[in-house]
């Protein structure tokens, strides 16, 4: 009796597995959301959602947000030279533009660029709400350079990534501060 039950279970398990495999590999089939990733020809990627697909309109929106970020970066640098507390407004503008750029990150398809963007967002978060106003004028110019050159929409290399880490360090934010738990375990 026990043997028969085991056999039945095995048959059911095999048929379920066959059915799901057949469904997943059928022409035009879309893999289940949390199902096994089937790679190779004829598969549909679940990584890129339709809302993220690159389009000319979204590309233009990304460029417009970068222009806003550049304007805010220059305004911060100028404010730090004249009257540091007035850099708060441009810092908020920069933060908002970076958030909008993050939402449009799939337009770029460049992982280094996405990582550079995250690096600057991390720096602004670590500096805090009015932390930007405590930067020196030289640091303000570095922030401006960061936005103008490292966040430009050209393809970014590993060298650009390293430059981003170096500039964030010069803004007074430890570049790997997110990895505090890694550090504490290694101490």
């Amino acid at each position: 009796m026990a043997e028969s039950a085991t056999t039945t279970t095995l048959i059911v398990a095999t048929s379920v597995r066959s059915a799901s495999y057949a469904d997943a590999t059928a022409p035009g089939a879309i893999p289940a959301r949390n199902g096994p990733a089937i790679r190779g020809r004829g598969t549909v990627s679940t990584k890129m959602r339709s809302a993220d697909l690159p389009t000319p309109e979204r590309g233009a929106e990304l460029r417009s947000q970068w222009v806003k970020a550049k304007r805010a970066g220059t305004a911060i640098a100028e404010a730090l030279e004249r009257d540091p507390p007035t850099s708060y407004g441009p810092a908020c503008d920069l933060s908002a533009a970076l958030d909008a750029m993050w939402k449009l990150r799939k337009q770029r398809g460049d992982e280094n660029w996405v990582s550079i963007l995250d690096c600057l967002q991390l720096a602004l978060r670590e500096l805090g709400g009015d932390g930007v106003s405590f930067l020196s004028p030289q640091q303000g110019r570095k922030l401006e350079v960061f936005v103008h050159t490292l966040l430009s929409l050209s393809e970014k290399s590993d060298r650009d990534l390293l430059e981003a880490v170096r500039l964030v360090d010069e803004l007074g934010v430890p570049p790997f501060v997110d990895f505090k738990t890694f550090a504490e375990a290694a101490d």
């Binding site: 990733a37 190779g40 590993d158 880490v165 170096r166 430890p174 790997f176």
Partner: protein, 284 residues
Amino acid sequence: MRTFIDTSVFIARHAHSPTQAQKVESATGAGSGRTKVSGLVVRQELKRRMLGDAEYLFRLLDEKNGFEEALHHLNRLRQLPYQANRAGICLGLMASITGVDDQDKTDRLKAKLRRFILTCLAKFDGWVDHLERGSGCHCATLDPVERKKRGGRVVFEMGDDKCGTGGTCHVGQFLTRMSDSSTAIQSHLAATLEPNGRKELHDILAFLNDTTSAEFTATDRNPCLTVGDLLIALESVAANCAEMYTMNHRDSLPLCAALGQQLRILSHKPEVEDVVVPPPASAV
């Protein structure tokens, strides 16, 4: 003064709070009169201990198809005795990640891990004034390499992590060359180490006792992994450093005493000043 920088100090400078970073910079920066020296074994340790975990987490995000599944997997691993440490480290980083959905959090975490894996060693090389290469540690010279697999998946190859592999590991010859310093450490530990003392120090003593008996080659025991503190201490001697700068004073204190070096201890608390332990009177 030439100061040898331990792994923990580099980590404190670049991954702890801004106050801690400032403290390390004021102790070792241009105005301090110190030359920052480090070595290949320190670089190897950084790669193995920090980048290894980062690479694991990056791979896990791909294997589990996203942040949430990886999180559940790591929570399960935390129950297992041999996986708990790594799982805890990864979960600590994941706790700081925010996003509107799973894809957002996955991309955010991947962006951080990518930056860390690709730039950490270059940052280390750029930060120290001189990198002592005398130990000939082959693993340390291999930087992580990014590879794109079919289907666009990105993987990082970390290279060898065991002594003696690759055919160009010179750690064995380095240990032979530094036999005078090794003997000083061996005799100091044999005289001062208590039976219930630190396990790491007992491992160093056992390693030195075994190597002097010439029963095996040093690299058989994977010394960079098992007695890394010994190799780092010997690297500091090879680099003519009069001072060792570390957070891990419990292991470094007897080694510095044996080698006649000054020990500078960086506290975990940013508000606490560094403690300087001068070399023993007999060594001055």
